[in-house]
């Protein structure tokens, strides 16, 4: 039996010697992060609904690294150092991504270590000076909208304006406890829009809600939002 023990120890020693060798790639370490902005101002969108693709050159099969924007228009990815292309597919997001004959243009990115990169896009509209506050038993928002893309080809009308409130800080058409809407045709003065919504009974009770204004542009699926506001009730 002694011999057996000796063999076992010898084998384990050999195994451990071999496995000392590194056999894996290092994990990606370079962080590419940034925001989608228009003139330095973040584009607020719905959480997890606006995707973007990152392609790395010369690697395996053709396919994208897919990410989604956060609510406040941020993205981040851990990548290997290398050359990448960044692209948003057609008809995604409440903005106009440049295209050439129906195909989305890409941005070349060289990753060498951590990098912050703001991506400039042209939104159809921007929500300006949003004021969201408690009003009576509900929440009232007043804001302006500015039409950014005004040319006849790409300019689009407002389909609806929404005010959403939610218990958590994810606030959108999908995640809300109450909302109110106004048709685009009912907006008489884009510099003075007011929406208000009653706060329903929240269970379990909490004395605050989160609110955002959303703007649906005709023919564009994704809404553009105002920054998140926390309202103490």
């Amino acid at each position: 039996m002694k011999i057996n023990h000796f063999y076992i120890i010898a084998v384990m020693l050999c195994v451990s010697l071999i496995s000392c060798k590194k056999d894996n790639y290092d994990p990606p370490k370079s962080k590419l992060s940034g925001r989608f902005v228009y003139k330095g101002e973040a584009i607020n969108v719905e959480h997890d609904r606006v995707p973007f693709d990152i392609f790395e050159y010369g690697f395996g099969k053709v396919g994208a690294i897919v990410g989604n924007l956060t609510q406040d228009g941020m993205f981040s990815h851990l990548l290997f150092d290398g050359d990448y292309k960044f692209v948003v597919r057609p008809n995604q997001g409440p903005f106009l991504w440049p295209q050439t004959s129906g195909k989305a243009d890409s941005i070349s990115i060289t990753v060498r270590g951590d990098q912050t990169l703001d991506i400039n896009v042209m939104p159809y509209y921007m929500i300006r000076t949003p004021q969201i506050a408690k009003g009576g038993t509900g929440v009232t928002a007043s804001f302006k909208v500015e039409k950014i893309i005004t040319d006849a080809v790409n300019g689009k009308n407002i389909e609806k304006a929404f005010l959403y409130i939610n218990k958590t800080q994810f606030v959108s058409g999908t995640n809300n406890i109450a909302n109110t809407e106004m048709a685009g045709s009912a907006i008489t003065d884009p510099n003075n829009i007011t929406l208000s919504v009653a706060v329903p009974k929240i269970s379990p009770t909490q004395n605050y809600v989160f609110a955002r204004i959303g703007l649906k542009v005709a023919g564009v699926e994704d809404l553009i939002f105002s920054p998140l506001t926390k309202i103490q009730l």
């Binding site: 099969k61 053709v62 396919g63 057609p90 008809n91 058409g173 999908t174 023919g219």
Partner: protein, 634 residues
Amino acid sequence: MKKIFAITILSVFLGLAGCKKDSEFLNVQAFGILSADQVFSDNNQVISYLGDLYNRQVDITAFKYGWESFADFSEAVPATTGSALVNRNGWDFSTWGLWDYGYVRDLNLFIERAGEAKTLAEGDRNRFVSEARFLRANHYFELVKRMGGVPLITKSLLYDFSGDPTYLQQPRAKESEIYDFIISEAEAIKGLLPSDIREKSRATRGAVLAMEARAALYAASIAKYGVNTPSVSLPGGEIGIPASMAAGYYAKALKAAEEVITGTAGRYALYTKFQSDLGQNFANLFIDNTDKAGNPETIFFEDYKIRSGKTHGFTTNNQPRFGAEEEEGGRLNPSLNLVQEYELLDNTFAPLPIQDAGGNPIYYNSPLELFANRDPRLSGTVMLPSAFGRNRNTDIFAGYQLADGSVITGAERGALGTLPGISGQVQVVGLDGPLNSRDFVAQSGFYLRKFIDPAPGGGSRGTGSEVPWVRYRYAEVLLNAAEAAFELGQPGVAAGYMSQVRARAGFTVPLTGGQITFDRVVHERRVELAFEGHYLYDRKRWRIAHVVMDGTSMSVTDLLNNIGVANRKNTQPFGLWPYKIHDPGGANHNKWIFKIVKPSIVTGSNRFQLGNYYSFIDDNIRANNPKISRQPNQ
């Protein structure tokens, strides 16, 4: 010496045996595998080969995919814990994806081999080949509905092992080209197939024409309504059909449907065998198994047969559970959203009258009074409270409401409780529910009746049900004709066809041409073809899916307004719970009231994104074949 002799003799024999040539020695006929020549030498062999191909047909909703394939889109509440159908907020882009080219290859091989089989009689050969061509066209129809234009492969492809597979890479055909293929195949084979209305499981002339009518109608509506979703298209035409082609497709749809209606494929007719109870008549249309082949309405179905090994458990899964053969069922509960869509007999829409104008409850002597004067298809599709269900009346009530408005109820089906003024315990919840968040009870207040098999053993696990899965039936052909005629500007013709379906249902006043609108067309298909796998595809081709399922939660006001309007919101299923009044001495004692509830398991609201119109094509497929274009809006 003896030993040496024996060894010598043995080795001589071995040497003789070993003289056989190696190639001959290895060439042994397999006993387990038939060659193509052998298979195509005998009709029965070919039929069993074909049987496999029939069994591999793909549907969006069918018994073989389980009850959950019926329960989506807020047409039902799934009464099981944690069902994703009601707690998610939409669908992945890959949902409903289909890329089954293995089946296409097997069909192509069958068509090629059967076409070359000289030992078969010519008539038989033509029929076999035409059946496979029907299945292939039907499969391409299923592909185009889900994926848009796909590579159109009509021959078996063979790889030459040269290391370069590019010659096998086919780009996607235009969406219209796939529909054109289906229509031209149908035209080519319809004369080669029998016009036999008693043949339901194999392709017939009727089945081919029904497929052609439906396919042409789909293509037409995509062409017409595609303008509402301009981004759902690809520049190469793989997705989207030009609006100019709409009229041509509608005309083809009408022509194919009218060929069935005029009887060139056999005298199909609506099922009217049970005139004394029209709700029962509508239910029997699907479950009358005494003479399945004699049912004049069904055109093409997937058959099941008890004691044959091919049965299904749809009845077991969805029957009212109490007292059923297995004490199992109750999974699919039709929603109030669907129930209230059934019209009044005077052809008008109205919510179920549970409250008066002042918001006070309306009291009924029996629960069925609430549903009086409704389209009889309602009671044929849905088991209503206290109405005839599976071999007995249902017992559905949520509790007793006292004079002060408080409710006495229990936590189990048929739970006992005490009522004021009554000594001892009484049953305070129906034996069939409803109970909130309890599995397998009527969480919506209703059970499904369509397809539920009343035959003894039909609801047991061991025996199972032999109710066939109907893929094409005559009423749908009539509705296809009505829709095509309406879109072609022939409202009188449309009203004629639609009124046939409605008259069978039990409406006595036919619709006039002026009353046929797009909303009417949409409504009629929703109630007549409920749970038959049309809801999603219809809303996709009319391009209203993203409007109907916009992802916002529904209020009771949303539920009750605009009933019968095509693009009204339908994102969350609701229920309707009956209560009994306990108020001894009061005017309403023992009467019934109803309350609208949103079951607490309904936490998500369906959002159909523009990217859901055509399902995601997997990255691997596109990496292997760079000619495949990506779907729009994904």
